[in-house]
Structure formats: structure tokens, C-alpha cells
Subunit: 336 residues, 2 copies
DNA sequence: CTTGTTTACTTAATCGATTAACCTAATTAT
DNA sequence: ATAATTAGGTTAATCGATTAAGTAAACAAG
């Protein structure tokens, strides 16, 4: 490895001067800076992140936490899209990404300890159990953190606009003439609560009454579970004309159940999903859904985290809500 | 942060002894080791990875490269599954994961430089352009590397068994009575070549002739492209009875095209995919496909890489072929 | 009783980069 | 002309952990 000492020898300056030149210190002559940098380039010098981290405490390394009990992790398209954009933005700004977990090999360390172990400058908590004491401890620590879809007091958070997303969908199907709208939601997380509340509120504002049996709980991302709930809805004396699914993948389960019963989408029943995964656009008919702007969420998370890291003095916690867009597919029919 | 010096002060030994005790050196009394470790535990000590990396050159950090020109990266389920399993196995063995890219912020560095910059102990090249000089340079460097689905000379590689996978599928549909089998493949990579050659060889062994117009090139993971090729196949004077798709996602495009033309799967035409993504199992009918064992591939990659890192003297390059399994869905009909 | 060998530590150098403190020569101010 | 300042460096300490080399005490062997 080419070190700063090699450069010092090669161009006849002291290591201190070389270091300062490379960092553009004001007390090194401009020509000297040029000469030293040229020399560094020729030798193929690159700083050693470990040495720098040790000395200055800055590693230019961000931790990310994607931990979910089910272990699916990044195989969810929503999360992999978020991750890709965190990574892209971080790299653009000169930061690497390390995954933070609990328990590395035989040593047991919690998230905060792991973060310190790797001298991460900050952490994006993209998916986690926010009641886990280890997550709370991290959120309350001095280490800069940004959370996604959850807000810690006085910390930066990036939120997907579930309220408006659901409202948009409700008004869209209302506009198409639907009044009997069923809502299959996922497990009761804070995100689910927002979506459900927004659904109910929008319906109320539009003056439509949703009977309680139209509101059903399924499991996110589980087509079997949404298939069962779909069947239950179809068995009701008064069937809904439109079914909301917890997410696009869950729609597949509903779609299968409808197909099995010989029910056509959208001519006989309308459906909408949530997320806007790639699949939703290649199905025929295309699924009408709300596309969360995962790319923007990830990029904002990285950007704000790095801002907090680099300007701790002028930094203020922010809660940013990122809007998505309605993807108008062909699964919602006009009814009169 | 609790350092080794804090422990030394707290329990009255020198820093050297503390370090040796924590690493279980033979020249420290057993009771001393116990006392020091107890003290470390009480103070909540965790080593500083940067300091250790600087001194011993080992970072307990693995680099991974998932770079594809299209930028989809981990949103491919195959790759995200591989990544998840690399990560899980690495963590089990005490290693963290860092993504290696080119161009961090304003500094431009190639893969090898980036790897050195982060003092990664080794690198898994999971997806990359293997003709890229920067990738070749890394593969030829002294740094331990493991590649997936590509073999560098005298290096460890984990290969998905494309030959057997394709052979299994061909024999399966042959067993169902199919003789007119069309093959839509993806862009011509080394993986595609293996699959195509295996397809042709198995057909030949079974004594079936595949007319050249049955073999068509599409774009991996692009339902539009596979839809077009499906249409072209349907326009042939003699239609195939079964269509092979480059991957499960591409099948969606074919499925849509078939549906639009009012052709039922599998009663009128049979189909098979490749990959075994989650989606293939929740579609009705379930897609018959070959599931690549991405979990095992990722875990083996991590395991062998760490073996090379930890036992460089006894290490030998290995090429491991990981078999997948036939997922028998309902898209291939018996014909007589 | 002297010398050699173990045992169980400690001292000090080191990894690569940064930076406070210091130095010298040149320039400016008085 | 002398003092004060500035420009442009250098020296040396430091971050935390490791480890070769050194040391003192305990013990064994001749």
C-alpha cells in the first residue's frame, strides 16, 4: 500500500506537509500542494480509512439497519429500493455503507456497540422493531441517526406519506363510482394505523359508510393470507365492489382467489394495491396502486444523515414526508 | 468509548497484558485472563475495529460487489437472496459486509483501491461485468476473492448449476410428452451460454430436433421483451407446445401475451421459467421452474472466502457447483 | 550455590494519518 | 533599524490495539 510516508520520501517533504497538502490546509504553498498531489496521483495513493478513522474519529462509513423478524429483509422490493438509493446517495457523497446487526460472530453487541465498533459516523434505521430496547438505545445515543417510517423524538425521520397515499386511492375509486369499498390491511404497525385511519377518514369525508366486516386484517406480503380474506369478503351478503390490498404482492393472492371463483377484474370487482412494485406494472390488467417513492426516501435519508454528520452545529432534526404517486392501472372499473 | 487503556487502569495491569488476555495469549495466567475479561465485560468494552485493522491488517470486514450496468442491483430477487445469505453467514463468522463500488464521492478509485481503502479482508464478486479491467485487476490481485457464476483462474468460484438445471427442465417437459420446445433466453452471457448449450445438448440426447426459429433472444427480467418473443413464436406455422422463459419474471410477459390471445396455460401451451422467485409459487397455476439455491450459494461464498482469509496456507481454490431444485408447478401439461 | 529455564508480566515500537506546537526565513510595520 | 508578523514548513504526540523484546521473580538442574 502506498502511504503518506512514501509520498513524503518521493517528493522530499515531511509527512505532515503531505497530509496537509492532501487535505488542502491553508498553510501550504499552492505549488507545493500541486506538486504533492501530483506525486500522490502518480504513486496511486489512497488514504487508509482505518488510520483516518482512528485518528479523527470520522470513518466516512454509514451504518444501515434492515432488520425484520421474518428474515426477508432486502428481498422485499420496497426495502431493496430504499437500500439501493441510500447506497447511491451515500456513495455520491463519499460514504460507504455497512450493515449493522446484533451479534457478530461470538461477540454479542447491540446496535449501538456495533456502530461504535465500526466507527460509523451515523446510522440509517430503515426497518426495525422500534420497541426493541437496543434500537431505542441507539435512537437516544449521540450518534446521528435517521429513521424511516418512524419518528424518534428530536431526530430526523423520513416518512412515506401513507395518509395522502390512502386518501388518493380512496378518492380515486370514489371518483370511479365505488361506494362499497373493502379494506384488507396488514399487521397493526404504526404505518398500518396511519393507512387505516386515513382510509376511514377519507371515506367519512366522502360520506361513505364502511361496514366493519369490510375491514379485515391480513399479513403483509402474504398472498395466502390476502386470498383468505378475499374469500371471506366474497362470502358476505353484500359484496364490496372494490377491494384494497395491503400491498401489491398481497394482491396476487386476491387475484388468484378471484380467478378461481371466475370473477373478472375489473369488470366484476375492482382492486387496488399499495407500493407500486415492478410487478404491478407488468401484470395485465396493470394494478392500480400507490407507488411509494422509495428512491427519494432513501436518498433523503442518506443526504440528511450526512448533513447532520458534517454540520452538527447548524443541524436541526427534520421530519420529511415523501409523497408517492398514483399508478393508474386497469383494475378499477367505472361503475354507475 | 471504553478502550484497552481504561481496562488497564481499572484492573491494574499494563495495556499489553490486557490485550493479550483478551486475545487469550498463552503467556498470561489463567486467573489474570479471567479477571481482565470480567473487568472488560463490566466496563462494556468492545474493540475498535479501525485500530485493530490498522495494526494487524485484518478488518473482519468483507467487501461485496453487486454491480450491474442496469442499476437494478439488489432489486433482483435472485441477487437479494444471495446477498442476504452472504450477510447472514458472514455475520455468523464474525465479519461485517461493506459494498465496494467505483468512485466514492470525488475520489475515483477502482474496486481494488476501494477494497484496500476499507482494508477489506476479502471480496465476494456477486455480480459484475467480468470483462471490466477493474474487476479483472481485483481478481488477479492478492486479495482473497470469491466469484459467483464466473470463474477466475485459480480462484474460488461458486457456480449455479445451469447445466443440470436446464437438463432437468428439458427432461421434465420431455417426460410430459413435449417435443416441440421453444427456448427464449436472455442476453448472451456465460451463464446464458451454458443454459443454451445444455438445452440443446439435452434435446439432442433425447432425440428431439429444435428448429432454429424456436430459439430466441430476449432481455433478462424484461416482460415486454419476452412478450414480444412469445408473440413471434405464436406466429410460427408450427407452434411450440412448450416455451422456456429466461427467468420467472420474463414469464409474466409471456403469460400476458398468451392471455391476450386467449391461450390457456397449460391446457393449450405449456411454459417453464427459471430462478424460482417467490412470485412463481403464488401465481395460479404455479409456474414450473428451476429454483436456484441462492441461499446456499451466498453462504458457501462467504464461508469459503473466510476460510481463505483465515487459513491462507492450507487454502486451495475451489469451484463449487450448487444444485437447485425443480419446482413442479402447474404450467406444464401432459400431452399424448 | 551458581546457572539456566520458565512464568508472568511490562516496555516500547508500530500501523497510517492528523494536528498542536514549534521553528526559520522572509516580509511588513513602526 | 528593530520588532512584529506571516508564510511555509517540520517535529513530535496521538488515536487504540498488537507484539517483539525485555525483565524480574520463581523454580529447577548440575
Amino acid at each position: 500500500m502506498v502511504t503518506i510516508t512514501d509520498i513524503a520520501k518521493a517528493c522530499g517533504y515531511s509527512r505532515a506537509t503531505v497530509s496537509k497538502a492532501l487535505n488542502g490546509a491553508p498553510d501550504v504553498k499552492k505549488e507545493t500542494i500541486e506538486r504533492i498531489r501530483e506525486c500522490a496521483r502518480e504513486l496511486g495513493y489512497h488514504p487508509n480509512a482505518a488510520a483516518r478513522a482512528l485518528k479523527v474519529g470520522r470513518s466516512y462509513n454509514l451504518g444501515v439497519i434492515f432488520s425484520d423478524s421474518t428474515g426477508v429483509g432486502l428481498t422485499h422490493e420496497y426495502f431493496s429500493r430504499i437500500f439501493e438509493s441510500i447506497k447511491a446517495e451515500a456513495e455520491r457523497l463519499g460514504y460507504d455503507i455497512t450493515f449493522i446487526s446484533q451479534n457478530l460472530g461470538t461477540m454479542s453487541m447491540d446496535y449501538l456497540e456495533h456502530t461504535r465498533y465500526r466507527s460509523c459516523d451515523g446510522v440509517v434505521i430503515a426497518s426495525a422493531d422500534f420497541h426493541d430496547p437496543a434500537i431505542i438505545r441507539l435512537g437516544e445515543s449521540k450518534i446521528p441517526t435517521v429513521t424511516l417510517d418512524y419518528t424518534f423524538d428530536s431526530r430526523t425521520a423520513i416518512l412515506s406519506d401513507n395518509i395522502r397515499g390512502m386518501d388518493t386511492l380512496v378518492r380515486y375509486v370514489y371518483g370511479k363510482g365505488h361506494r362499497r369499498i373493502a379494506f384488507i390491511h396488514g399487521e397493526m404497525t404504526s404505518v398500518t394505523q396511519k393507512r387505516l385511519a386515513s382510509f376511514k377518514k377519507s371515506c367519512m369525508e366522502l360520506g361513505i359508510r364502511i361496514p366493519p366486516e369490510y375491514i379485515r386484517e391480513a399479513v403483509y406480503h402474504d398472498p395466502r393470507s390476502s386470498g383468505l380474506e378475499t374469500r371471506a369478503l366474497l362470502e358476505l351478503p353484500e359484496q364490496p365492489t372494490c377491494i384494497f390490498y395491503p400491498d401489491d404482492f398481497s394482491y396476487i393472492g386476491g387475484m388468484n382467489e378471484l380467478e378461481r371463483q371466475g370473477i373478472q377484474v375489473p369488470s366484476q370487482i375492482s382492486t387496488v394495491g399499495y407500493d407500486g412494485i415492478h410487478l404491478s406494472e407488468v401484470l395485465r390488467p396493470r394494478l392500480t396502486t400507490y407507488r411509494q417513492n422509495a428512491e427519494r426516501m432513501g436518498a433523503e435519508a442518506a443526504r440528511l444523515l450526512i448533513e447532520e454528520i458534517e454540520h452538527p452545529d447548524t443541524w436541526l432534526p427534520q421530519q420529511i414526508t415523501v409523497e408517492g404517486t398514483l399508478l393508474e392501472g386497469g383494475t378499477v372499473a367505472d361503475i354507475d
